[in-house]
């Protein structure tokens, strides 16, 4: 092994936590996205169902992720997403960004973005579109 490493340091892979918050039990979309991002070379962790926002924040920090991707189809997004953003910020994890997917009305998107959610993907979005977004938006990727 050579002492002098002339190779550039390998770029860190994008790390993302896919999360289900609240009581919504529909996680097919979350799992398909998780699998798609994994196939695209990202490091993906899934929380499993029915997590509190506090649990998601803890997992995001422990796993040192770049993104939290929240899947939500029960209509609780207007409460849970801003709460998640606030808790991340209060835990010193302002650098962890949030994207969300599921069933979210267009009318709610500006309000959610104003509260610090970076991006909303409606169900039916091709995986490639999500991959492109994350690659373009993640500083180190």
């Amino acid at each position: 092994m050579s002492i002098v490493n002339s190779e550039p340091a390998p770029r860190r892979k994008i790390r993302i936590l896919i999360a289900k918050v609240g009581l919504d039990g529909h996680d097919v979309g979350a799992r398909v996205v998780a699998r798609g991002l994994l196939d695209a070379g990202m490091e993906v962790i899934y929380t499993g169902l029915r997590r509190t926002t506090e649990e998601v924040v803890r997992a995001a920090i422990e796993e040192d992720v770049d993104w939290v991707g929240v899947s939500i189809l029960s209509g609780a997004h207007r409460v849970l997403l801003p709460k998640l953003r606030k808790l991340l910020d209060e835990s010193g994890a302002s650098d962890i960004r949030i994207m969300a997917g599921g069933i979210i009305p267009q009318e709610d998107i500006p309000e959610l973005q104003a509260s610090g959610v970076s991006k909303i993907f409606l169900s039916g979005t091709p995986i490639a579109e999500i991959v492109n977004y994350l690659v373009n938006e993640t500083a180190h990727a």
């Binding site: 039990g25 097919v28 798609g36 993906v44 899934y46 029960s74 009305p105 409606l122 091709p126 995986i127």
Partner: protein, 571 residues
Amino acid sequence: MNIVKPSGTFSPASSEPGSNVASESARWQQEVFAPAAAGRKDRKKFVTDTGIAVEPLYTPAHLEQNNFDYMRDLGFPGEYPFTRGERPGMNRTDPFVISAYSGFGEAQVCNGRFKKLIEFGAEQILVALDLPTQCGYDSDHEMASAEVGNVGVAIDTLADVEILFAGIRADNIKRIGTLGNSIGPIVLALWAALGEKQGIHWSRYTVNLQNDPLKEYIARGTQILPPEPAAKLASDAVAWCVEHAPNWSPMTVCVNHINAGGAGSSMGTAIALANARHYIDLLLARGYSIDQVAPLLHMFPDERHDFFVEIANLRALRRIWARMMKEQYGATEAKAMALRTTVYGHGQEALAEPLNNITRTAFGTLAYVLGGASYVYLAGYDEAVSTPNENSARVALRTLQIIANEHGFTDTIDPLGGSYYVETLTAQVERQILDGLAQIEQIGGALATISTGFARRVMTEGAVRRQRAIDSGDRPWVTVNMWSQKPDVPNTAFRGDARAEERQLTRLAQVKATRDQKRVTAALAEVERATTEDRNVTPSVLEAVRAYATVGEIVDIWRRRFGAFVPSTDF
């Protein structure tokens, strides 16, 4: 009688009819079809969502290949093996039951909607419960925050059910009920107590429950306890009905969510049948006979991608059920072998241009009706994105009425029976289901599909395969991968009255303040004893419900006793 054989070159007796068709259809395919199709791009992949290759033409040769035998494979409606229908007259004399699944916000508002649905012609109402109720949390629980009344109606106590059905007599409607998958004995007790409140004997109305907790771990996600005690509690509800209300339908074993989650309808049916066997085995172990138990169960098949597979799936499922009950369980009564089916008409509903979903769900529902479904629901065109409004709920009911009454769809029984294509698919789907069931038995049955991750793996792989087929265009989807349009999620998506939660909390507090607390405490103590002593919990739950104990108070006893489920983080 002297039969004169026809003579000459046209004599049909001069060659074997089947093999003649086989060689002729091979000739047609090679010499006529193939040259015509050569050089043309396939429009799509001709393969069903369940993985069956679809041929350009079906002939009697396909029936011969499958050793088709009319009497063995089909028989007659209302007779073994019930392929052509589980009741003698089917839609001709005894049309499918026009059903509605509905629920949102508070009981009082929901009651108004139910009355409307009945006015529109709904013959059965299944109540959609909000997520806190389904997951065993009262509206004032921390986990219920932001979810009360969101995707269904909030039910904390019997008081809510009384409001929900005020002015709607339980015996004026063919069936009433709810899902209550993880709280089966509680919803059974609530609907039994409703009859008592309305002064209607249990034998005079019919309650239908989903009460199928095992598929929650696999696909739907409202599980509360570990799977084993959950299945036991669900079977408690069925056992109570065997004793007290044998005319009820306290369990609907579901393919629906398992297929929708990615398993595909054939493997989904196999998993659901394994679940049904688990419940049945629990009930037989208590000393009931298969003839007592099987008639109380029915199934909820599902296929939303391929019209003809939908028809084949229902026909194959009835045949498999009949043979399983008779040959494996030794059932002797027809009603134990004749499987009733609940279906929920879907298609590939899209978020863009939602009115097109009316067409999709109508076709999807038509296939179920042609396949002989017994209880038929139809998804609202806006259901993928919101709780259906009154208008979309009415369109759904009217579509069912049109299918039941116009076009001659229901004039003759099993109209596609004998179709070369449908009979071939029925045999192929049957083989896929039986293969799946054999795989599940090999790993140890229903509980093993959960504990080994088998079901989850099958579903994720299927969901990823479906997503790729859509992304690549192999599975055409108008407005999504053809003529694609932006999704349109209306402002009303799962958003009720913001103050409904507040009012529900006030009502719950009032009920708690005015109920006979001594009676509640004693009743809950008895639920706890029945749970600990492994008795049927239903009688004690019924007493607790009558005393206005809350759903959460009862479920907490089970949480303490059995612990909570551990969510899987696999994907």
